[in-house]
Symmetry: C2
Subunit: 577 residues, 2 copies
Amino acid sequence: MPPTMVEHNGLDMCLNKYCHSSSSSSSSEQDKKIFSKLKLSLSGDYPRKNAEILSGQYGTNLLLIGLALMLAISHHGPSVKEEHLLSFVTCLMILQLIWMMWYILVRERQKNTRTEKDVHATTCWIRGGLTLLALLSLIMDAFRIGYFVGYQSCVSAVLGVYPVIHATHTIAQVHFLWFHIKDVIKSFETFERFGVIHAVFTNLLLWCNGVMSEAEHFLNNHKRRLTALGYGNLTIVHSEPHCNCTTSTCSMFSSSLFYLYPFNVEYHIFVSAMLFVMWKNIGRTIDLSSNRKRLATKTQGLTVGPILGLLALASTIGILVVYVTHVEESLKMRQSAISMFYIYGIVMLVFMCSAGASGLIIYRADHVPLDTSKNPSRQLDTELLFGSSIGSWLMSWCSVVAVLGADSSPPYRWTNLIYSLLIVLEKYIQNLFVVESLYRKQEDGEREDPELPASPEIFSVTSSLAPPYNGIINRTFVTPDRTCSTMENEQEESGQVKGAHKHKEANPEKHCCLLIMCNISLWILPAFGCRPQYDNGLEQETFGFSIWTTVLNFAIPLNLFYRMHSVASLFEVFRRV
Amino acid sequence: MPPTMVEHNGLDMCLNKYCHSSSSSSSSEQDKKIFSKLKLSLSGDYPRKNAEILSGQYGTNLLLIGLALMLAISHHGPSVKEEHLLSFVTCLMILQLIWMMWYILVRERQKNTRTEKDVHATTCWIRGGLTLLALLSLIMDAFRIGYFVGYQSCVSAVLGVYPVIHATHTIAQVHFLWFHIKDVIKSFETFERFGVIHAVFTNLLLWCNGVMSEAEHFLNNHKRRLTALGYGNLTIVHSEPHCNCTTSTCSMFSSSLFYLYPFNVEYHIFVSAMLFVMWKNIGRTIDLSSNRKRLATKTQGLTVGPILGLLALASTIGILVVYVTHVEESLKMRQSAISMFYIYGIVMLVFMCSAGASGLIIYRADHVPLDTSKNPSRQLDTELLFGSSIGSWLMSWCSVVAVLGADSSPPYRWTNLIYSLLIVLEKYIQNLFVVESLYRKQEDGEREDPELPASPEIFSVTSSLAPPYNGIINRTFVTPDRTCSTMENEQEESGQVKGAHKHKEANPEKHCCLLIMCNISLWILPAFGCRPQYDNGLEQETFGFSIWTTVLNFAIPLNLFYRMHSVASLFEVFRRV
């Protein structure tokens, strides 16, 4: 191909420039020029849009290969085994480790040059939370290694290598998160793009893998229950090794694993979202004026919200224990457990809806212009919130269809309907509330509303202290830790300004606090086994076993992610108001 | 809720403004003020970001309700029937009709005020194509009515109402497409947003419904074949009515329907994409300087590309006929038909890959800065291209896993592997090529490359004729038809300029032409029944019947859309270069 192309190009240039003077004699010279130009542009300034698509497509295909392997495994056929998937994932993790090492070394060598940072990319409390989740993942790896040691004689070596690599990967990645996730990469852009997107999709694949293992575990539990209740004999596929455990702790390890899965799963999806923001930031020119962190004021006057929230959290744990123990028993106990869950859910959701709605009404009454500056992190937050709602909305609408169409009428039929409709409404309102909160311009003591001029003395205190001070701190490109601690100090120092801010503070933060606790509650329940969608039988009657479990396998992981993500977003809002 | 909220707000204002002077006496007056303010901001300037999310969530939920109904129907249970879905869809279409009528009436009354238009939103050839597809949809509706008349005595009346409403909807919507799709709405923004998104999701739901019917038809065909070949007895669910047809044409109608489905399906998805662009444009401030249409020059020197393309198209039809007839016969004939398909596919894909790759190399050698101006239509094109690739990539990777893991070894095993890998590669390259083509700045006779200054006389001809002339045309807000015909005239008039443009023209357009024809070919094959993924048995062995048909039901519609959409995008590129 190149020869014909060059010919054409030569012709073009001829038309463009040389035709009037020397048309055919200088063609070989020109060829050389074109070749050198081609070489230059192939190596050098590859257009950014292209690099994005090139690397994005690479990452997507990695994930799809993994998904294809998972689908083959879930068929439990003779040809594709879990080892194949694990070796693929291990290779990806090793590649990511090499890239991270390379990246850190390069940054070390360029220590004297400034690295731009995107302060919106993440906050230290998110990183703290992720470190905690990473620690739990490490425990999980330890359990996996213990399990492998017990069955060493009859399982593939991959099952031993995988947790070791995963542990190394986790430690290295947490280090990366603390010191490099905010970097705005400006050198080797195309190469780094591949590195970052590789990391994004490796984590996404690890998430998918975790979700699949969890779903299979629940499905087997569900089948076991159905069989015990005499609903027909469903085959449960066991993946137990074919030899005896040489240590006495194997069964302990394998059963504990499933309590750690939820944390591991959240860890990977959060890391991939953060890495995705890093990927979006590559080559970006940060607008320094909008890149200053806002003063986070300490919270005060928190009474109703947190108390209600803590109450919700405490009752959730009670409900979880009662549900998990009762659902295994007789049909009647089972039905009462499910009814209890729905009634509890309705109460929670009514509170959440009214908290969100009143937050929105306050925003309507208190007009603040929205901040439209570019911010990939916020953009992604919005999209993820919206995208992950889809799973649970689908599940709810399926329940509505099932309730309306069902022939049988268990006691929880209509509470299920109300619960499902409330779930739709609650996500609808909460998304609106969170997005508007994230997009509202934070007042730097100024009020844009002409009807309400702030009193001059308060205005001057806030404006003289806050914005320039903040601006300076962030323009000096401090390391993340220092920003973190400085922010804390600032909060102490600015105690005197609190009174001035209070007129906006008091209202939405109460709602935030309640919503955070409620979202945590609604994460805990499905994460630790309280999934009435499996147990109530109504949807299964309308949709059939296979369609309904497929819907659940798609929707429940999305819903879990939605809850965690909205906790993170609400906490962000809470800190800012 | 409002009372407590108002209390808080009153407190805030007190803190803010009145605390120093009169704290408690003027509270009732203030309450009134706040109420009026609340009312004003609830009715008036609702923030744009919120209106987007509010309406987006509404639309998504419409689609999800429809999906839930479809899932229930696909279970063939006793409670949810197709009538329920059709009445739901009919209601949505009636709502959309009312909104469109309202919209058109409002625009009629505002005739004397200018309506801004986004010229990038669509082109007249796309609208022409859609009109053609709409005509075929109307024929389909006629067949449906005929079918209903025959079975009138024993089927639900909904089956008769639906095609009538669908036909009305189609006609009204085509009218809307021609005269209003480019409008940039600036009045009643929040309400119009709901109207437009309702239209988007109604069309999307009609698309889903079409896809589901088609998939079921193919699945039944597939099961019939498997049973005929003795692969076990799979139950085929017939949805035939329980009475005899009173006219003699019923079976003709129902069998012809399936040849019209592909067109109907493409019609709805394209319309929903265009309406989505309209939704994105609501309230947008169009930058007039970037909003001028570029001069479309006539194509010349088209030799190799179109000839190869037409050859591909002709051979495709041959392959289709041979495949469809052979695959129903003995095992040997069937295997040879599948092998033939793969070999044919490999040849096509190699051509397409090299066309795309050489196009990309030409772009590398001929550096043009990318156009980064805001353009929702192009943004959506890119995302849809990328998003719809995912389906076919997943299918390909599944095939790769299946080929590598399979125990049986039919003659087409390794050709299937090569074919699948080439599909991945071809989409990878084609996406890059299309996206880069769409984002390249179109030269208005100017060349940004400092190494190649354009010769002055050519520069002056182009720049004096083209850009201002075009700019004026579009700033006068002509009706689409006039723009259309004017553009055609322009093309004639600017015949003299062709020579000057030729240096960019000659190269990529040849590739475009070949790629367009090849994409049409690869759309025709699966759209009209050539789906070796169902017939080859390899994937089914590895993934099992239910997982694999689920993957296909997800991936094939996306792939069909991908092909049509890339034809549209490539045609756009072809017209511009």
